[in-house]
Structure formats: structure tokens, C-alpha cells
């Protein structure tokens, strides 16, 4: 196998030094036009391709960012990933994506792997399990990363400690759940079934907190039998709601922990011969595209997913432009952004008709 061409080969061929080759390759440095052309020709003739590793080793950054999600197919993560990829690309960086499938150990392992790659930023996406030991592990990595000049960005999850050097991009999760529940309450629903979401995930806790706050504000006592946490999947929504319906539980509305759960819930309702919103109202959360495809179209909470991804890299890495003077750039002093959410009213909620289904 013929060894790959290197700067030296190009230099020899163009009859210049390797430094000159490097200079024309990088632009940003005066090189005589004739020389430049000779080098460019040599590059072309040799099919030379710089070695990003050698380049990274020699000082310049790796020009990559990493993102860690549960699953690239899940629209919640996919949209955030798109934002990260776009912003990274605009900042002249490659995006490495890792999928944990919800396993915290894989998550930690990926942070390490991305650190090894010397990613300029590592974006950790989605709710976190509330586990002290786990938070400590994340904190340690945040420090390691930081002391190496890289940033750990928490996207849609709480901080892991006051003086841990992380950046963060959150969204108003509690507020969205509050608004959504209030909307239901306003329509006369008081027995609202809360369905789905892993109970120990920060996302679930926040949504439930907003839900409860709204209930209490309207003088409705939260009923424990109306809270059924679980997974964030259509399968869970379908299965659990089917069971609940069979058990005779009564409620007039369902608050699905996210749109995926709502998809399954809607199917269960359909199968039970219940009409949405006539017999039961239904709401979701996240406002992924599927929410508009469902019939009835789903009332839900819009979360600026892609924007979160964009911001995550924006606050963590200097962009292409200011990049020339990259040393001038520095992370925003706040270090933490919180994006707004808002309820999107569509067709899956109706005023309560008096009857309570069960």
C-alpha cells in the first residue's frame, strides 16, 4: 500500500519547505502567489490530504464537538442534534454523536471518549437521573475537560453542583407543564391522568412539579392514583393506558409526559372506543412533528429543541468568524441559558362534558 503523501512530499515536489506548504494550506499567512500556485498544484497532483490528527497534535484544536444523546431516532434528541450539528458546522467543526440508549454508564464512557478526542465541547443532552454518585462522576469529568480547555455543556438537565465548570442550556420545563395543566383545568378537567416518563429523571420531576403546582393553584388536590410514570415511549403509553382503562380508573384528560407517550395513549383510547377530545382530552409535550400528524392534532408544549442545540455549541466554542482571533473569545459569563416554552393549542382538548371516563 503506497504511503500517503505528507507535507514533506508536497514540499519536495513544489520545491519549497514544509513550512511554506503548511502556510498555503492554512491560508492566513502571506505567501507569494507563484509559490502558492506551485504548492497547490503539488497538492493536487499528489492527492494530498492533510492529517487532522497531526494538525490537532501540533497545537490547533481538534475542531470537533461531541454530542451525547439517548437515541438519534427519537425526535426530541434528533432535533437537538440537528441544532448542534448545524452550529458546529457553521463554526467549522465536525460533530461526533454518541448514543447511550439511556445507559448512564455509557454516557460517562462517551464523555471520556470525546475527551480523548479532544473535542472542543461535549454536549450532554436530556434529563439526568438524580443520583449523587453519578452527578459526582459527571462533575469530575467536567473539571477534567475544563482544565484541558474544553467545555461540558448540559443541555436540558440540571447542574451537577455549584462550582462545577459546566455551561448549560435549559428550557422552561416546569413552566410548560404548568401552562398545559392550567389549560386543562380551565377547560374544566380536574381528574387528569399523568402518564409516562421515568420517575427518577429530572425531566419527569420538572414536568410533574409544574403539573402539581397548577393543580394546587386551582385548589385541586393531586391524586396519587392519577400519576403513572414509566417510559417515554408510545409502547408504554399504549400499554399502561390500556391497563388503566380496564381497571376502571376515572379521569377526563390525559397529560402524556411527552408526545411519544401521547401517540401510544391515543391509540389505546381509540381501541377502547373513546373519542379524543369528545370523551377524553389528551395533551403531550415537546411538540415534535408527529404532534401535527396525529388526528386529532395534538395540543402540546413547544420546546425549542433545535435552538437548544445551536446555543449549546454557540456558548461553548468560538465561531468561525471570531475564530481568526480565537484567543479573544471566551465563554459567556452567565454560562447558563434558559429558553422559553409555550403551549400550542390544537385539537386534542375539549371542555369537559360532565362525564368522567374510566
Amino acid at each position: 500500500m503506497p504511503r500517503r503523501a505528507t507535507v514533506i512530499d508536497v514540499a519536495r515536489r513544489a520545491e519549497v519547505s514544509s513550512a511554506t506548504v503548511s502556510r498555503v494550506l492554512n491560508g492566513h499567512y502571506p505567501v507569494a502567489r507563484a509559490t502558492r500556485e506551485r504548492v497547490e498544484a503539488a497538492v493536487r497532483e499528489l492527492g494530498y490530504v492533510v492529517n487532522a490528527h497531526a494538525r490537532a497534535l501540533a497545537g490547533t484544536s481538534s475542531r470537533t464537538v461531541g454530542i451525547i444523546v439517548h437515541d438519534v431516532v427519537d425526535p426530541f434528541f434528533a432535533h437537538i442534534a440537528r441544532g448542534v450539528e448545524r452550529a458546529a458546522s457553521e463554526a467549522g467543526r465536525l460533530c461526533m454523536v454518541c448514543c447511550t440508549h439511556g445507559d448512564p454508564r455509557r454516557e460517562l464512557a462517551f464523555v471520556d471518549l470525546l475527551h480523548e478526542q479532544r473535542a472542543d465541547a461535549v454536549v450532554l443532552v436530556g434529563g439526568a437521573h438524580s443520583d449523587r454518585a453519578y452527578a459526582r462522576e459527571v462533575a469530575r469529568r467536567a473539571r477534567d475537560l475544563h482544565s484541558g480547555g474544553a467545555r461540558l455543556v448540559l443541555c436540558g438537565r440540571p447542574s451537577v453542583g455549584r462550582d462545577v465548570p459546566t455551561l448549560s442550556v435549559e428550557y422552561d420545563n416546569e413552566g410548560g407543564a404548568f401552562a398545559l395543566t392550567d389549560h386543562l383545568l380551565t377547560q374544566g378537567h380536574e381528574r387528569i391522568l399523568y402518564l409516562g416518563g421515568p420517575p427518577d429523571l429530572s425531566t419527569t420531576r420538572d414536568r410533574l412539579a409544574g403539573h402539581r403546582r397548577a393543580l394546587e393553584l386551582r385548589g385541586v388536590t393531586p391524586a396519587p392514583e392519577l400519576v403513572h410514570t414509566g417510559a417515554f415511549s408510545p409502547a408504554f403509553g399504549h400499554r399502561r393506558l390500556t391497563e388503566l382503562l380496564a381497571s376502571g380508573l376515572t379521569f377526563s384528560a390525559v397529560f402524556a409526559a411527552n408526545d411519544m407517550v401521547a401517540i401510544g395513549a391515543l391509540q389505546a383510547l381509540e381501541e377502547a372506543g373513546l373519542r379524543v377530545p369528545d370523551d377524553v382530552s389528551l395533551v403531550g409535550y415537546d411538540d415534535v412533528p408527529a404532534a401535527q400528524v396525529l388526528r386529532p392534532r395534538l395540543t402540546t408544549v413547544h420546546v425549542p429543541l433545535e435552538e437548544m442545540g445551536r446555543q449549546a455549541v454557540r456558548i461553548a466554542v468560538p465561531d468561525a468568524e471570531s475564530d481568526a482571533e480565537s484567543c479573544a473569545w471566551q465563554p459567556p459569563p452567565e454560562g447558563g441559558l434558559k429558553l422559553g416554552t409555550h403551549i400550542v393549542v390544537r385539537d386534542s382538548v375539549a371542555a369537559r362534558q360532565g362525564r368522567v371516563t374510566g
Copy 2:
């Protein structure tokens, strides 16, 4: 900023040589138990993290694979990306994903970028535009990559030339379209509107070819006014079908070029007061999850998306296990896989009632 720890620092601390540190870090080499433990302790105490770039430079591969898609959010690409990510991860590799948003120039630029990163494999996903110059560019990069020991994998697109060193994973696109059209024909539909898909994309050409072959085989003459190519989006499906309906075009079934187009088409039909499948039958292609969420549930062609992604990396890189003896591994002689597709019958097609809508 305190310089990051290096093997030398670890070596010093553990009172061994850097070579020994390297050996314990990599496993695969006899090191006295006591020595190993001393090194491991030093690593921990210093918060040492290997530099993947230095490692890659020093000879071992970069342990990464790259994937180039139009858009990570589009389920077609997302599922393939998931397969690639999983297989890469299982083979101990990181996955770098790039989004072109359909721009061939970005695609080429990303191949270069991934080559610079010395990715072990670069997977190019999705239909390609049939453009000689473009194919030549791809071919050149395939050769460059190959001569550097990396592989270019074409996933769901045709070869760029007989003796261009690429690997490929295809699916039976033409066959699926044939089967689907035949299904419609069997149900009595003869005026079938073919809707969507960029006309110069290989994917579209293949699907249309299968569609036409089925038509001809049943003695139905393809009608040019029934073919309306365009984008692969719900927006296109909705807009164009709405126009067509207004124009008075007659047809009893719609063959949407993919499920996304079908989503838009269904909405247009609904808005026009037409019922699916009672008034008009509708089919899609790809069998993404949305196909099961639509009402009626969509009859479509199942494409083994995730499996394609998996296979793409499987044929291109040695897996973790055989990796120990990695020099023993070599790409499968075939170099080209073709996965099967099959039609999934759901609820969006009904036997033709006689009336032809328009």
C-alpha cells in the same frame, strides 16, 4: 492553565518508562501486576486522559467512522444513522455525522473532511444526483480514501463506476415500487398519481422504474400527467396534491414517493373532503414510524434502514473482536450488499369503487 498530563507525567509518577505506561493503557501486552497497578494509580491521580490524536498519529487507526446524510431529523436518514452509530460503537469506534441538507458540494466537502480525520470508513447515504462530473468527484475521493486504507461506502445509491474502489449497501428499491404498484393495480386502480421525489435523484428513478414496470406488465400505459416529482417532504406532498386536485386531474390512488410525502398528501386529501381509502387510496415508501401513526395507517414499503447502516460499517471495518488480529480482517470480496424490501399492507388502500376522483 495547567498543562494536561501526558504519558511522560504518568511515567514519572509511577516511576516507569513511557513505553510501559503505553503498554498498560493498551492492555494487550504483558506487564507485571505491581507495575500495572502503580501506573493505573498514577493515571487516576493525575486525571490523565490519552490523546486520541497522538495515538492516531503514532500509527493505530483513528477509530472513527463518518456518515454523511441530508438531515439527521429525517427518519429515513435517522434510522440509517442509528444503524451506523450502533455498529460503529460495537466495533469500538466513534461516529462523526455530517449533514448536507441535500447540497452535493457540501457532501464532497464532508468526504474530504472525514478523510482528513482519517476515518476508517466514510458512509455516503441516500440517493445521488445523476451527474457525470459529480460522480467523477466521488470516484476520485473513493480512490484517495482507498489508497489511504480507508473505505467509502455507498449506502442506498448506485455505484460511481466499475473499477472505483467503493463498498456498497443497497436495497431493492425498484422491486419495492413494483410490488406496491402491483398491489394497487390488483385492487383495481389504474390511474395512479405518482407524487414527489427529486426527479434527478437515483432513488426517484428507481422507484419510478419499478412503478412503470408494474404498470406495463399489467398492460396499463403510463400516463405522463400522472407523474409529479418534486421534493421528499410533507410540504411538497400537500401543496402539489392540493393544486392537482384543484386542477381537476383524475386518479383513484396516490403513490407517494416516500412516507413524508404521503403525510402531506393525506392532509391535502382530508382538506379536500376526500376520504382515504374510501375515495382515494394512498401508499407511501420507507415504512418509517409515522406510517403507523397516520390514520388510516399507511400501506407502504418496508426498507431495512437501520440494518443498512449496520451493514455499511460491518463490511467496511473490522469489528472489535476480530480487531485483536485486525490485520487478518479484510473487506468482503463482494463489496456490495443488496437488502430486500417488502410491502406492508395496512389501511390506506381499498379496492377501487368505480369512481375516479379529480
